[in-house]
């Protein structure tokens, strides 16, 4: 079925980005916005805006029946959920299936399969994809036995969690029962699912993920990998493709494993298979699959020249995969920097408010995905992502230089941003060498804190 009108159930930069592709494809857009976003840039770009609820996300962007009713009421053929919010709620995909609205994403069953982390682990094992040593916990005695097999430190994780939520690190056997109990209670409260499992904690692990596209009939291709190891408290800050410094064998095996996993699910649409890469052992393990478009998808688009949102729409509309693996060419290196309204000098506290001035960089090799312009507001109800700046060049060194220049040319006034910190990361020798692990940002911040403490100490001595 040809999709002629899409309801976008999201906000911010991703809503603006989806609208851009729809315009190019001559597809009409209806933006389902909260009251707080009625005057946002995406609201202005969309052909029509409907207000689905108040600012509070649970009553607007997370309101499944309001979103589907809005799609039906505006005669939209399809719903694009973006990322976050309802994108990985099987309830939306399922209601769409009942109401015969096309859900631009995987089936409800596929969302369920990857949303349950234990089930996803089992699917990975069945697809011959390596997983981190670990497993489900049924009893205290069994937890103890499993922990002794795996060794310490280990992680207690929520079956219904993901993206770093619902995780506890345990160093010693005697701390395990308490950690399991706490993690289980928290998981029950946060995800409505108290089940937990344990996994070996991989020290100095890297986060590398593979972009895949599936036709929902068993055909799956990959579009290379992305390294997202620059994270603060599991929030990605900088992403790049290709992942620097992987052996040819590891890179090839990662990509093939991602394809095998998605093939096993007969996956439909765009998805990302996340892996933990153990650089010292030259090994990788399946972490989870994200059944949606990712924030960092533009780096893949930069090196492949493929519009992933357009491919999502094509697959959803029944065109199947328009590309074969041999059509995918990966050209050069792309790096993305997330610009967040938060204050690095104040423990990265969110900094909502009105943007007095916004001046974004432009030029060859630079792409900026944003919904922020001079006068825009960053409401306090949602995440603090203001923009993504993506630099694409022939090699990593050139892309880094380009991104650094672009950040220096960016001017944001009125709210605090993390740009100075991002610049610090980009210019640090460790990041410039490439292949940092997920502990890198934490160490950088610790080093800065101890440096500040030293200066303060010296100041006290001089004053004394």
């Amino acid at each position: 079925m040809a999709i002629r009108r899409i309801l976008i159930a999201n906000r911010g930069e991703i809503a603006a980005r989806i609208i851009r592709t729809c315009r190019r494809l001559e597809i009409e857009t209806v933006l389902a916005a909260s009251l707080a976003d009625r005057d946002s840039v995406p609201a202005r770009l969309a052909d029509r805006v409907v207000c689905v609820g108040p600012a509070r996300p649970t009553e607007s962007y997370l309101n499944v029946s309001a979103v589907v009713h809005a799609a039906l009421g505006t005669k939209s053929d399809a719903i694009h959920p973006g990322y976050g919010f309802l994108s990985e709620r099987a309830a939306l995909a399922s209601l769409c299936e009942t109401e015969r609205v096309i859900f631009i994403g995987p089936t409800a069953a596929q969302i369920d399969a990857v949303g349950d982390k234990l089930r996803a682990r089992a699917e990975a094992i069945a697809a011959d994809v390596p997983v981190v040593p670990g497993g489900a916990i049924a009893s205290a005695a069994q937890a103890r036995q499993l922990a002794e097999e795996i060794g310490f430190p280990l992680l207690v994780k929520a079956v219904g969690g993901g993206g770093g939520r619902g995780m506890k690190r345990v160093e010693r056997l005697q701390d395990l029962p308490a950690a399991v109990e706490l993690a289980s209670a928290e998981a029950g409260a946060a995800f409505g699912d108290a089940r937990v499992y344990v996994e070996r904690f991989v020290d100095r692990g890297r986060h590398v993920e593979v972009q895949i596209l599936g036709d929902g009939r068993g055909g799956v291709i990959h579009l290379g990998e992305r390294d997202c190891s620059v994270q603060r408290r599991y929030q990605k800050l900088i992403e790049e493709t290709p992942a620097p410094g992987l052996s040819d064998r590891l890179r090839r095996e990662l990509r093939e494993a991602a394809v095998r996993f998605a093939e096993r699910l007969t996956y439909r649409g765009a998805g990302t298979v996340e892996f933990l890469v153990d650089g010292e052992r030259d090994a990788f393990y399946f972490l989870e699959m994200n059944a949606r478009i990712q924030v960092e998808h533009p780096v893949t688009e930069a090196v492949t020249g493929i519009d992933l949102v357009a491919e999502q729409i094509a697959v959803a509309g029944g065109s199947g995969l328009r590309l074969q693996q041999s059509d995918i060419r990966l050209d050069g290196c792309a790096i993305e920097c997330r610009v967040n309204a938060e204050d690095p000098a104040n423990d990265f506290r969110p900094s909502p408010g009105q943007v007095r001035e916004a001046s974004w960089p432009a030029g060859a090799g630079i792409r900026v995905d944003t919904h922020i312009e001079t006068g825009s507001r960053v409401p306090p109800f949602y995440d603090s992502l203001m923009a993504k700046i993506i630099a694409h060049a022939a090699d990593r060194k050139a892309a880094l230089g380009l991104l650094s220049t672009a950040i220096a040319a960016t001017r944001i006034d009125g709210v605090s941003t993390n740009l100075s910190f991002q610049q610090e990361v980009l210019t640090s020798p460790e990041f410039q060498r490439g292949g940092v692990d997920t502990g890198f940002v934490g160490r950088l911040l610790d080093a800065r804190r101890s440096e500040e403490a030293t200066y303060q100490g010296l100041g006290a001595i001089y004053r004394g």
Binding site: A36, R38, V50, C51, A55, A66, H69, G73, P352, R377
Partner: protein, 171 residues
């Protein structure tokens, strides 16, 4: 944080009844300044829409609202709840949709509408139904008065917070 037109009107009323000449209220990045006797005007910090406290009051292009003597001046940079300029005529109450859904004036097809223009309503009088995915939600008048206008036709999609009816308050 945002304020509805009704809430702004309520604040204005409180200031008018008080012994103060000026009120500045700041909540979570939202700033509301009120001044008695129209003793000057404040430029709004943003090009966002400005609530107009009386439909007869002049607005100029700088998004500044100047009230007539003996009322108040108000500028805010809040986002107004509807794309229309909000009217907060203190004698008129706007019944707004509590949800996005389909607007129905009658309990079932062919039945008489809950209210017509001229119907006298109490606070809890049901004036319409909003259907969301086959769930019916009642909308109540919210004030005592007389229905003066029905702004939406039967069976159409209404947005959250859209004005559905106007009621002239009584008593």
């Amino acid at each position: 944080m945002s304020l509805t037109a009704a809430e702004v009107a309520e604040i204005v009323k409180l200031v008018e009844q008080s012994s103060f000449d000026e009120l500045t209220l700041e909540i979570d990045g939202l700033k509301l300044s009120l001044r008695r006797n129209g003793a000057g005007s404040f430029a709004a910090a943003s090009p966002a829409l400005v609530p107009v406290l009386d439909p007869n009051i002049v607005t100029d292009e700088q998004n500044t609202v100047t009230a007539s003597p003996n009322t108040v001046t108000a500028t805010t940079n809040i986002v107004t709840p509807t794309p229309n300029i909000v009217t907060a005529d203190p004698a008129t109450h706007e019944v707004r949709s509590p949800l996005l859904g389909t607007f129905y004036r009658a309990p079932k097809p062919g039945a008489a509408p809950f209210v017509e223009v001229g119907t006298v309503v109490e606070e809890d009088t049901v004036v319409a139904i909003i259907e969301v995915m086959k769930l019916m939600n009642t909308v109540r008048a919210g004030v005592r008065g007389t229905v003066t206008e029905v702004l939406v036709s039967d069976g159409v999609l209404v947005e959250f917070d859209q004005s559905l009816m106007r009621v002239r308050k009584s008593g």
